[in-house]
C-alpha cells in the first residue's frame, strides 16, 4: 500500500517537467564541478606522487564533489517537496486517500518514499561520475560508498523536513519558503557555533552538514546515522499528527 502511493508520487513527479529540469540542471552543475576537481587533481599529481600517504582521488575529487552535491540538493529539495501534501490539499485529492482503507502512517510513508525515490535517482546519477574513474585509477570504493550513504541521509533528512512543512499549508510556495528557511537555518547553525568557540557544541551537533563531513572523510559513525534517522522519524511523526489534525479541524 505504501509502495502504491510512493509509485504514484514518483510517477507524478516525473510527469511534470520540473523534475526533469532539476535533474538536468544539477547534473550539469555537478559535472562541471567534477571536471574542475579532476583538473585540480591532475595539477597536483606530480607533488602527490612524491609524498607518502598523500590524499588520493577519494579525498581530492569525490569528497568535495559530494560536499557540493549536498549543498545543491539542499537548494532543490524545497522545490520537490513543496507540492507533496499541499498540492493534494489544494486540489482536494487528499480525500481519495482519506476515504480509502489506508492509515495516515501509510499515506505519509508513501508520499515520503516517493520523494525519496527521486533523490535516490539524483544521487545515483551523480555516482556515475566518480564510477567512471574506475577505469584507469585506484578508486577507494569504501570511501565512495560512505559519501553516497552520507548524501542519501542528508537528502532523507531534508525531504522529511520538506514533507512536514508541506503538510502545514495549502500553498506550495509557502511550503517552499519555509523549507528553505528551515534548511538554511540548519546550515547556519554550524557557522555560528564554530565562530563562538573552536569546537562545535550543541548547535554544531544539530547542524545538518556537520555529520555529513565525517562521512565525506570516510568515517561512518552510528551517531551520525542516528542523527539523520531521528530527524526523519521526528518529521514524519509530526506529519502523521498534522494529517490527523486536518481531519479534526478540516
Amino acid at each position: 500500500m505504501i509502495l502504491t502511493i510512493a509509485a504514484r508520487e514518483l510517477r507524478s513527479l516525473f510527469l511534470s517537467p520540473l523534475a526533469w529540469a532539476i535533474l538536468a540542471v544539477t547534473q550539469c552543475i555537478l559535472a562541471f564541478q567534477f571536471l574542475s576537481y579532476i583538473e585540480n587533481f591532475l595539477d597536483l599529481q606530480p607533488q602527490l606522487a612524491a609524498r607518502d600517504g598523500a590524499p588520493g582521488i577519494a579525498d581530492l575529487i569525490i569528497a568535495p564533489l559530494y560536499g557540493d552535491a549536498a549543498t545543491v540538493l539542499m537548494l532543490i529539495t524545497p522545490l520537490i517537496t513543496m507540492r507533496a501534501l499541499s498540492e493534494e490539499r489544494r486540489s482536494r485529492t487528499l480525500s481519495l486517500l482519506f476515504s480509502a482503507p489506508v492509515s495516515m502512517t501509510e499515506i505519509v510513508l508513501g508520499k515520503y518514499l516517493g520523494i525519496l525515490g527521486f533523490f535516490v535517482c539524483t544521487a545515483l546519477m551523480l555516482t556515475f561520475m566518480p564510477l567512471s574513474l574506475l577505469d584507469g585509477s585506484a578508486l577507494d570504493l569504501g570511501k565512495l560508498a560512505a559519501c553516497l550513504l552520507g548524501l542519501l541521509l542528508v537528502m532523507a533528512a531534508c525531504s522529511a523536513i520538506g514533507v512536514y512543512l508541506s503538510s502545514l499549508t495549502q500553498q506550495p510556495a509557502v511550503a517552499a519558503v519555509t523549507t528553505y528557511g528551515a534548511l538554511l537555518m540548519l546550515l547556519i547553525l554550524r557557522r555560528t557555533s564554530s565562530l563562538s568557540s573552536g569546537d562545535s557544541g550543541v548547535l554544531g551537533y544539530l547542524s545538518l552538514l556537520e555529520h555529513y563531513e565525517n562521512m565525506l572523510k570516510g568515517m561512518v559513525n552510528s551517531t551520525d546515522i542516528l542523527y539523520y534517522l531521528l530527524l526523519v522519524l521526528l518529521c514524519l511523526v509530526f506529519t502523521v499528527r498534522q494529517l490527523d489534525r486536518m481531519r479534526l479541524q478540516a
Binding site: 502504491t4 504514484r8 482536494r92 486517500l97 480509502a100 482503507p101 489506508v102 481531519r247 478540516a250
Partner: protein
C-alpha cells in the same frame, strides 16, 4: 438476526470552533436504499458526508458501516465506502486507466480481479472510450464520471455521492441518475443535491437537514402521500374577478396571477369539475387547468424558511 444496516449514524455532532455544523444527527441506511440528502447551502450536508466517509472526525457520536465502527476500525470500515466529494479527487496528470488502476490498488483489490474491476467501473460510468486520455484534458462532466468510477470501483456496500450531477449536461445527468438507480439495487447510496426533482427521480428516501439538524425524514412514497393536490392553476381568456371565482363550490381562496391566470386553493374535495361547469356556463373561456401538488420543493422551502423566520423572531426578542 438480520445483517446490520449498511450505515448507522447515531447522535452525530460536529463543531467548528463555536458553531455547530452538525447537531444530533441520527439515521440508518439499509441495503437497496437510495437516500437523498437535501439542505440549503451551509446546512451541514457536506460535513455529514465527510464524517461518514472518514474525511472529517466527528466531535461526538458514532458511525457504523456494516456494523463496523468507523472510528475504532477505520481500515475495515473504509473498505465498504466509496466516496465522491464535491470536487472529484482526480490527478489531472494521469490517464483515466492509470488513475483507476491506482484507486483499485488503494482499495486493496486483488491483483487478478483488478483488470475486471477497472473494466466494470469504466463501463458503468461510460468511460470506455476515454481510458487512455489524460484526466486534465477531459471535460468537467467526464471528470465527474471518473470521480464516480473511483467511488464504485471496489463495489463498496455504501456509496456516498456529494452533488454528483453538478456541471453535467442534461443527457449525462439522465445517465448518471440511471446509474445511481442501478447501483441502488445492490448498494446503499447517499446522495446530496440541490436539485429537488433529482431526489424524486432517483431516491426512495429523503432527508432534509437545516442548520445542522435533521428536520425531515421520510420515504419518497410517503412524500407522494403528503403531496396531495392542494391547489389548481387555471388560465382563462376572459378572466372573471376573484370574487366570482371564490364562489365556485369547494374553493377556499383565490390568488390572481399575471397572464390571465388564477390559483385556486382548496382543502376538501377537488373543485375542478365544478370550476369547468361554471366556466362554461359563465363564458370565462377556460383554456388551461392543472392541479398543483404539494411538492418536495414546497416542503423544503417551508421547513427551511419557517425555521429561519422563527430564528429571526428569536433574535429580535
Amino acid at each position: 438476526m438480520s445483517s446490520p444496516p449498511l450505515i448507522q449514524v447515531s447522535d452525530l455532532y460536529r463543531y467548528y470552533s463555536q458553531s455547530c455544523a452538525v447537531c444530533d444527527v441520527s439515521f440508518e441506511l439499509a441495503r437497496g436504499d437510495v437516500l437523498g440528502f437535501l439542505g440549503p447551502n451551509g446546512a451541514g450536508k457536506t460535513s455529514t458526508m465527510q464524517m461518514i466517509s472518514g474525511n472529517l472526525a466527528p466531535s461526538a457520536g458514532a458511525i457504523r458501516i456494516c456494523g463496523i465502527d468507523l472510528l475504532d476500525e477505520p481500515k475495515r470500515a473504509k473498505c465498504e465506502i466509496g466516496y465522491l466529494p464535491e470536487q472529484p479527487p482526480v490527478y489531472r496528470e494521469l490517464t483515466v486507466d492509470e488513475y483507476l488502476s491506482y484507486c483499485a490498488r488503494l482499495n486493496r483489490i486483488e491483483r487478478r480481479r483488478r483488470a475486471a474491476a477497472i473494466a466494470t467501473a469504466r463501463e458503468r460510468c461510460g468511460l470506455a472510450d476515454v481510458g487512455r486520455r489524460l484526466i486534465g484534458n477531459l471535460s468537467k462532466g467526464y471528470q465527474q464520471r471518473v470521480g464516480i468510477a473511483q467511488a464504485i470501483i471496489h463495489t463498496p456496500a455504501v456509496v456516498i455521492l456529494d452533488e454528483p450531477t453538478v456541471g453535467l449536461d442534461p443527457i449525462q445527468i439522465r445517465e448518471i441518475r440511471h446509474l445511481i438507480r442501478e447501483l441502488g439495487r445492490d448498494h446503499g447510496i447517499i446522495l446530496s443535491t440541490h436539485i429537488l426533482p433529482e431526489v424524486q427521480a432517483t431516491c426512495n428516501r429523503v432527508q432534509i437537514i437545516h442548520r445542522g439538524r435533521l428536520v425531515f425524514a421520510d420515504s419518497t412514497a410517503g412524500l407522494e402521500q403528503r403531496g396531495r393536490a392542494s391547489s389548481l392553476l387555471a388560465r382563462f381568456l376572459a378572466i372573471p374577478d376573484g370574487a366570482a371565482l371564490q364562489q365556485v363550490p369547494g374553493v377556499d381562496r383565490v390568488e390572481l396571477l399575471p397572464g390571465q391566470r388564477a390559483r385556486l386553493f382548496f382543502s376538501a374535495a377537488d373543485p375542478s369539475e365544478a370550476l369547468v361547469e361554471r366556466a362554461v356556463s359563465a363564458g370565462w373561456r377556460l383554456v388551461e387547468l392543472g392541479s398543483e401538488r404539494n411538492t418536495l420543493e414546497q416542503i423544503f422551502i417551508e421547513l427551511t424558511t419557517a425555521d429561519s423566520a422563527h430564528q429571526q423572531a428569536e433574535a429580535a426578542a
